[in-house]
């Protein structure tokens, strides 16, 4: 086991003590991994020098899956086992996915989780597992580039991802064995990549059009604080849709529409993408379209392509207008417009956004890499490599959270664009004498009808003390954390009894299902789950001892001699447990140390508040002391 390396408070850790943290842009079409090296955030390349990893996984009967370029190369000959654009399926129900079904060449099967399952030669794969395979490939690349195990990762998601889509992404990280530091919204990541360079104050707009998702965020920058004022978007609109429209047009034009089979459908989409990319530079493109054994020459001009995509471009601008309105910001107040995502290379998109905001958008950082770079910068801060950083990202809830009420209506509890973390309590009462249980249906979306919103989960409140109808008052607290993820707790107010809650995510994997997948993956990889559990608990134990030591060095005056000695003893105890190689005992020891240091954590938090209110930051106080 490595020795603990603890930096003096106020000092940066020594270079060799730097932690390995990465930012991952898990995209619909391509994915990237980036890290801060020598003070600069860079994307990491594979052995061939490629930075972009195509988000494609090809499953094989006996061998491990292929990920990236190798998988993409085999897509046309093996369409059923080659999964691309899986991000579109994350957190979606089998029904919603069937809506997209005509375009997808996969064989779908519904599963118990309500999530769709993709039938492959390697068995049924959930979108979470496919994403985990992409994450694993990126993590492997990062371990090789950085020379060791990763301490943590920030993974980006579209700002407009709902709770189920975020949870699915978090589950994929867990399956891939990553320590997830934060889910970060893609436009916010892009703003960080730009903003830190420029140190500006003012309001900026980030227009992010990727392969399968569109986001717009309005942010206020103030001395390292990135405050998201409003966000909007569409998680089913992106460059893939441009390709699809163009592919349909090509088939129509060529008269080969009837000859389409799954493998030539892939070919047509690939051709459409190539034509789209060429039209960025060229006015007219001529290519050969092949389907069902026939080949036809097709010609497309840029004007024709622009006419095809115009309705989609307009849709994104309407979303921009709404986000501005939600932010309470006039177009003229926007100081900068930042373009993110490969699809912002399309000239018509750039022109339309420029016209809308009345200013030329920024394109100085490669739009494909900017999100991963921003994520790497935040990962570096969160993992503890930059204790003096001023950077702080304040994000919002993208879609309103509500509850089902009488008549299939939704009552909103937390409105969209509310800053997170947020907690809201709602009181419920019983409507029958002696009622001991109550069902609650949580939804996300802006519409009034339950049927028009996304169903997130159904909760059953149990163990309500039996009382007369209307006498029991149950306070249900909805909390959204900094990742944008919802949790729910409940308490009966007159007796103080905590009601238990059973959660059934509408389109997600249960904890048991994930545990099972983890077990399966270890069986296949012939690794030892016990060994992994032990390592995880050891790392966690070391982490909390380091954190407590640092805290004690910083705020020793908050502790009496006896209290400090008590904490030292608890830490020594946990250090002994680490050596036992029994992960259950280590876990119990971690719990015990956490309990023993509770009071200290609270005192530190109180002190933070008084410092902030007296106008001093810890940094200033440190500087005064030196």
């Amino acid at each position: 086991m490595a020795l603990l390396q603890i930096a003096e408070p106020g000092q940066s850790p020594e270079p060799h003590a730097r932690k390995r943290a990465v930012g991952i842009d898990l995209g619909t079409t391509n994915s990237l991994v980036a890290s801060v090296r020598d003070g600069i955030a860079v994307t990491l390349a594979d052995a061939q020098g490629e930075h972009l990893l195509p988000s494609v996984v090809r499953y094989r009967a006996t061998e491990p899956p292929l990920v990236g370029g190798e998988a993409l190369a085999g897509a046309a000959q093996d369409p059923h086992n080659t999964i691309s654009s899986v991000k579109r399926l994350m957190g979606r129900g089998a029904d919603a996915v069937k809506g997209l079904g005509e375009e997808l060449p996969y064989r779908l099967a519904a599963s118990d989780s309500g999530m769709p399952s993709l039938q492959t030669v390697a068995g049924n794969k959930s979108p979470v597992e496919v994403s985990a395979d992409i994450l694993s490939a990126l993590a492997k690349r990062a371990r090789e580039a950085l020379g060791g195990e990763l301490d943590g990762a920030v993974i980006t998601v579209p700002a407009y991802f709902d709770d189920a889509q975020r949870q699915a992404t978090k589950d994929a990280a867990r399956l891939a064995g990553l320590n997830l530091l934060r889910l970060l919204n893609e436009p916010t990541a892009a703003a960080v990549a730009y903003g830190l360079d420029q140190k500006e104050e003012g309001v900026i707009a980030v227009y992010d059009l990727g392969g399968g998702t569109f986001d717009i965020s309005i942010l206020r920058l103030n001395r390292g604080v990135f405050e998201v004022l409003a966000t909007g978007g569409d998680t089913a609109l992106g460059g893939d849709d441009f390709d699809r429209l163009l592919a349909q047009y090509l088939l129509q034009q060529s008269g080969l529409a009837d000859r389409l089979d799954p493998s030539s459908a892939r070919g047509v989409t690939t051709l459409a993408r190539r034509i789209k990319e060429r039209l960025t530079e060229e006015e007219k493109v001529t290519e050969t379209l092949s389907a069902g054994g026939q080949s036809v020459t097709v010609r497309v001009s840029r004007a024709q392509f622009e006419a095809l995509i115009e309705p989609l471009v307009k849709r994104t601008l309407r979303t921009c207008r709404r986000a501005l309105k939600d932010a309470g910001i006039d177009k003229t107040e926007i100081a900068e417009v930042v373009m993110v995502g490969g699809s912002t290379r399309v000239p018509r998109v750039r022109a339309a956004v420029g016209e809308f905001f009345g200013r030329a958008p920024h394109i100085d950082i490669d739009p494909d890499r900017v999100v991963a770079i921003g994520a790497a910068l935040q990962a570096d801060v969160l993992v503890g490599n930059k204790p003096d950083s001023d950077m702080l990202l304040l994000d919002v809830l993208p879609l309103s959270l509500g509850l089902e009420t009488m008549g299939g209506l939704v009552e909103k509890i937390i409105h969209r664009n509310t800053p997170i973390p947020v907690a809201r309590a709602q009181e419920f009462t019983t409507y029958q004498d002696g009622q001991t249980a109550m069902a609650i249906h949580v939804l996300q979306g802006e519409r009034e009808l339950v049927s028009d919103c996304r169903s997130l989960a159904r909760f059953v409140l149990r163990d309500i003390p039996p009382m007369a109808a209307g006498a029991a008052k149950i306070r249900v607290t909805f909390q959204v954390d900094a990742d944008g993820l919802l949790s729910v707790s409940a308490q009966e107010l007159s007796t103080g009894a905590v009601s238990s809650i059973q959660v059934k995510p509408s389109y997600g994997l249960s904890d048991e299902a994930i545990a099972q997948m983890l077990k399966d993956s270890y069986r296949h990889a012939a690794e030892d789950l016990e060994a992994r559990n032990l390592r995880e608990q050891q790392v966690e134990a070391e982490r909390i001892i380091t954190a407590l030591r640092t805290a004690m060095a910083q705020d020793r005056e908050l502790l009496s001699e006896a209290e400090a000695a008590g904490l030292e003893a608890e830490m020594a105890n946990l250090e002994r447990l680490i050596e036992t190689a029994d992960y259950r005992r280590i876990a119990a020891g971690i719990e015990q140390l956490a309990k023993a240091s509770d009071f200290f954590a609270s005192r530190r938090m109180d002190q933070s508040i008084s410092r902030a209110l007296s106008g001093h930051t810890i940094d200033e106080i440190d500087q005064e002391a030196h």
Partner: protein, 176 residues
């Protein structure tokens, strides 16, 4: 932390309806710099959980003080008057009549010849009436006329609801 301190004290501001928005925003950012979970990411789970709770509380306090209606409601609740759940006292018939007329105009706006301009006109109208009610409240509050202050808040609630209806209709227009 003592989460029972009122929001004004929590943000280090004097209790009152008049508020310096720039000062509020700057204190909010200063507290976020200390409390936000990202500031505690490599600390113990307990500290991270505390950070989430404190930041949620801070966000609630900030949202409450930033909005004139919520600030007014909050001041009244500090004085023991709940405006959000209890039954409303009788509002004067002239006000109610005017509200009904406004509501009809809003409902008819999408069918009007220029829906966007019509909604914009109504939005501006509602905003100016809200402005008047806010100064009514400020006066009443400062002179200790709580009943009058409550009346102003009840009226503000009506108009704020109307305001959100206008916004919802504008949203729908964007979707079309």
């Amino acid at each position: 932390m003592d989460m029972t301190r009122n929001y004004f004290e929590f943000l280090g501001l004097p209790v009152g309806f008049e508020i310096d928005q720039a000062e509020l925003a700057s204190r909010y950012r200063a507290l976020q710099r200390q409390l936000h979970p990202d500031r505690h990411a490599h600390q113990s789970d307990r500290e991270q959980r505390l950070a989430v709770q404190h930041t949620a509380h801070l966000n609630e306090a900030y949202a409450t003080l930033k909005s004139p209606l919520r600030r007014a409601q909050y001041l009244l609740s500090l004085a023991g008057i709940e405006t959000r759940h209890d039954r409303a006292p009788q509002l004067d018939p002239a006000f109610l009549m005017e509200q009904m007329e406004l509501r009809e105009q809003v409902a008819a706006a999408p069918e009007s010849r220029a829906p966007e301009a019509e909604l914009e006109r109504l939005r501006a109208l509602v905003e100016s009436e809200l402005g008047t009610l806010e100064s009514d409240f400020a006066h009443a509050w400062e002179s200790g006329a709580l009943a009058q202050a409550e009346l102003a808040v009840r009226k503000m609630q009506f108009l704020t609801k109307l305001q959100s209806e206008v916004a919802a209709l504008e949203d729908k227009l964007f979707d079309e």
